[in-house]
């Protein structure tokens, strides 16, 4: 979905209401991680042709950060979740 996004909190909304940050990179490293791990997190991207997970912020709506699973070839979105669930899920 690159014209409309189904915000899990607000429903179907247009692209204009969102701020896009880009790829969900590797998780933010722990404080003690080395520079290489940090470099990877801050700079390197998979940038796949196909399914892609990325951060969108519903800045003109609920102001929640979302994670979209979207296909970069077809622009079809298969999943939208609140971004806070990433870390909670990761911890489980």
């Amino acid at each position: 979905m690159s014209s409309l996004v189904k915000c899990p909190h607000c429903g179907l909304r247009p692209r204009e209401e969102f701020t896009i940050r880009g790829e969900v990179a590797t998780p933010r490293p722990s404080a003690g991680a080395d520079e290489a791990t940090w470099f990877d997190h801050v700079y390197l991207r998979d940038n796949p042709r196909g399914e892609h997970r990325e951060y969108w912020h519903h800045s003109s709506g609920c102001r929640r950060w979302l994670v979209l699973t979207r296909n970069t070839l077809t622009h079809e979105t298969s999943d939208v979740v609140d971004a806070s669930t990433l870390k909670t899920e990761g911890a489980q």
Binding site: R15, I20, R21, G22, A36, N47, R49, R70, L73, H75
Partner: protein, 416 residues
């Protein structure tokens, strides 16, 4: 066949029946000294300069579609060298100098038109930033001129000076900037490279890269396996996709940028103008269409198309600059895929593999860079050392912190 007044006249008499193909359509040979992946502007220019300047002629250019089917044929045709940073400015100026002699060099009229590029500013802060940039250009001997409102009004009387939400204060002009007929650049380089013996192989998609340890041995393609001594990537837009074949992750995201053309109009605007209070740049093609563009879509994309929100955004900025556009109709929009790097500047360097060379990350500045990118990449391929104007485009600058961030927005690709 060399193009000349005589050849044109001669062929006119023979009803244009005797023109020869501009390039051969060869089958791939089993082995090349250098394989260049990507038959777009940069790949073809690399092959051209490799064969012409560095004497490397056993070269193949592999193109998955038709030659010039990438961004060389889907941009807004602007050339300029108005860069700020020491790592960028000399490279783009080198490119400008190559543009200035290109047509005689490759005997193909690409309609290089140095009609001037003007960047408008609307606030004191923008004026100061352009002063800094213009002075950086001047330091390198690049032409730059700061125009005030009155000078601008004389050149571009139809901009909105009276009823503008963000009044225009002036502009930074590079008189040597301008436009080039984009497709012709690909064709000119292709024809020149072909004449030097380079094999340009169309409809040949690379599907895998063969290696032996840290050596590349060749590529798998839709037209069979080909071996090579050196492998060069010039696939901006798809860099991450190809790099993945050798497990390389890049500081690059792919983003779609739309460009537009209006219906053909009688002469309307005779320079390239960039709006400073929104995303819009425009020039008029020799056929009369206003060619213009704006910002990238914002989301990662490999689809060569965009969405309506961005179209409206561009149109709004355009009309804020030129109110008379209201009844001008937009004919067509198209999309290209940009390699958006994490600092907004390109990467041209050797890689972790001994004989793999990378050229990409051009963001939306690839077109103007085409000749210098080809020249410098050829230099790197032939000599294993970067050309003196391209020493800053190193791959490790991100890890080491020597960034080339013209905009100062940091490690977020879609902001550059």
């Amino acid at each position: 066949m060399r193009y000349s007044a005589l050849s044109l006249l001669g062929n006119a008499f023979s009803k244009n029946k005797n023109w020869k193909p501009a390039w051969r359509n060869p089958d791939p040979k089993p082995n090349y000294d250098v394989i260049i992946i990507g038959g777009g502007g940069h790949g073809l220019a690399t092959a051209y300069y490799l064969s012409k300047v560095f004497g490397v002629r056993n070269v193949a250019v592999l193109e998955k579609g038709y030659l010039g089917s990438g961004n060389i044929g889907r941009n807004t045709t602007i050339i300029r060298s108005n860069y700020l940073l020491e790592g960028n400015n000399p490279f783009y100026e080198f490119s400008m100098k190559l543009w200035e002699g290109l047509e005689q060099d490759f005997n193909f009229n690409a309609m290089v038109s140095q009609r001037g590029v003007i960047n408008l500013f609307h606030s004191d802060a923008q004026r100061d930033a352009y002063t800094r940039r213009g002075n950086a250009m001047r330091l390198h001997g690049v032409d730059a001129e700061l125009l005030n409102r009155d000078q601008l009004r004389e050149k571009l009387p139809f901009l909105d000076y009276e009823n503008a939400r963000f009044p225009i204060m002036g502009g930074l002009m590079q008189a040597r900037g301008g436009t080039v007929r984009h497709d012709a650049v690909a064709w000119g380089f292709a024809r020149g490279a072909d004449q030097n013996g380079v094999d340009i192989i169309q409809n040949c998609e690379v599907t895998g890269i063969d290696r032996d340890g840290d050596q590349i041995t060749g590529v798998q393609t839709t037209r069979g396996a080909i071996t090579c001594n050196k492998l060069a990537m010039a696939v901006a837009g798809s860099s991450s996709h190809v790099a993945k074949m050798v497990d390389m992750r890049l500081p690059i995201e792919s983003h779609a940028l739309q460009a537009f053309v209006s219906e053909g109009l009688k002469p309307f605007i005779d320079t390239v103008v960039t709006f400073g209070a929104g995303h819009f740049y425009v020039s008029q093609s020799d056929k009369g269409g206003l060619v213009f563009g704006g910002d990238i879509e914002g989301y990662n994309s490999y689809a060569q198309r965009g969405n309506l929100a961005c179209v409206e955004h561009v149109a709004e900025a355009g009309m804020a600059m030129i109110p008379a556009l209201s009844r001008v109709r937009i004919l067509r929009s198209w999309g290209g895929i940009m390699d958006m790097s994490m600092d907004g500047s390109p990467i041209m360097d050797r890689t972790h593999l001994a004989n793999l060379y990378f050229n990409g990350g051009w963001c939306y500045g690839g077109f103007k860079a085409t000749p210098a990118s080809g020249y410098c990449f050829a230099h790197l391929l032939a000599t294993d050392t970067p050309h003196e104007t391209a020493t800053a485009f190193r791959m490790d600058r991100f890890a080491r912190g020597y960034l080339l961030d013209e905009k100062g927005v940091g490690a977020q690709a879609n902001l550059h």
